[in-house]
Amino acid sequence: MKPPPFSYHDPKTVAEVVGLLSTLENAKLLAGGQSLMPMLNFRYVQPDHIIDLNRVEGLSYIRETPDGMEVGAMTRQRDLEFSELVARRFPLMHEAIQSIGHRQTRNRGTIGGSLCHLDPSAELVSCAMTLDAVVVVAGPAGQREIAFKDFPVGYLTSAVEPNEVLTAIRFSAWPAKHGYAFVEFARRHGDFAIVSAATLLQVDDAGRIMRAAVTLGGMGTGPVRASELEVALTGHAPDVEFLRQACESCRRFEAFDDVHAPASYRQHLATVMSRRALEKAYARATGKA
């Protein structure tokens, strides 16, 4: 249970990070370390170089923008948890963060690290997917932006190239009175979710859903948007029975088997978690919660 030997680098600027990534072979970026350090201790990963981002300047901030916020990649999950701006404009994220690990891991864990590690059941991954976040990465050719729907490219694999580093994430806020909910099924508080559902709803004065976003986490290799369900909800003022039937479509997503649950159970949970999240979000959107 000890990390394998590696060379350690602690650059001070993003330019230095990009320079190191371009010259070093088999290098790994170390952010908050709450996923990479266990993998190093287990020797699941054996990098020749560790590039520590903790001393890079200017990567930790939460900044309000005209349509939402921009968050620096090295912003700790704890800082998001206690951010007034996040609580006010991104209540979905505020709620989801309560389920990320524990205080000790949120104190160190970063948003950028969580997104790049891209665990399919990670709470911030689901939030970014639901909020249609835009990810900013820096590389040898400068900066580029990646829409979050294009960010996951495989299991634990993001669209960030080996010579690039994620520097910031941009979020657009939903209108002031939107409904939101994050629910997950885990055996113990702080465990990885077996299945999670993140939802956002915009509802008109008559209680009709104008816009819906639903993300399922923990099902397969990455987070998935339940687009069919989103379309089915739009234009309706749903009751419990309507939601129950609409959420049945979530059973059709591909899911994987592991020691925690067989695929069929995950598919069952997808219908239940999405319904519970939507009930909660709808009650909040219509002022009944």
């Binding site: 249970m1 000890k2 709450q34 350090m37 524990h102 205080r103 000790q104 113990r188």
Partner: protein, 165 residues
Amino acid sequence: MGQTRKIALTVNGKRYEEEVEVRVTLADFIRHQLGLTGTHLGCEHGVCGACTILMDGRSARACLMLAVQADGHDFLTVEGIAPSPDKLHPLQQAFHENHGLQCGFCTPGMLTTLLEFLRDNPDPTEREVRIAISGNLCRCTGYQNIVISALDAAKRLQAEAEQKA
């Protein structure tokens, strides 16, 4: 021995300057190099919470950090909680009197975690205490007496604060 680095850090108010191998975790460094074996290692992958220490006042898992990352920071381990060698901290006293430990393996992590928690939430509910220690595994107590100890400690710390004020 692989690549090494010189680091300077403060642990329990004492300044150390040490040469460390860059792949050594902070937990192993604290135990083996500084000889502070109160910080325990259970799982070494961030699940059991036994190695919880305070870094600049915030709780963190010492097994999920490299010692080289500790350079320039201030740490508190279980050895630094008591105000003097013959006097326990109110939190420790509460554990002592409420049978908040049996084998004691999880206790350093419980104490450091609760130290931060009670500073941020001086008057917690039982549920809040249970969530606060949800990242610390105990296989002896069934948690009941730990929760009682934490709630008792909150009262003791509040009484102490009132006395000072």
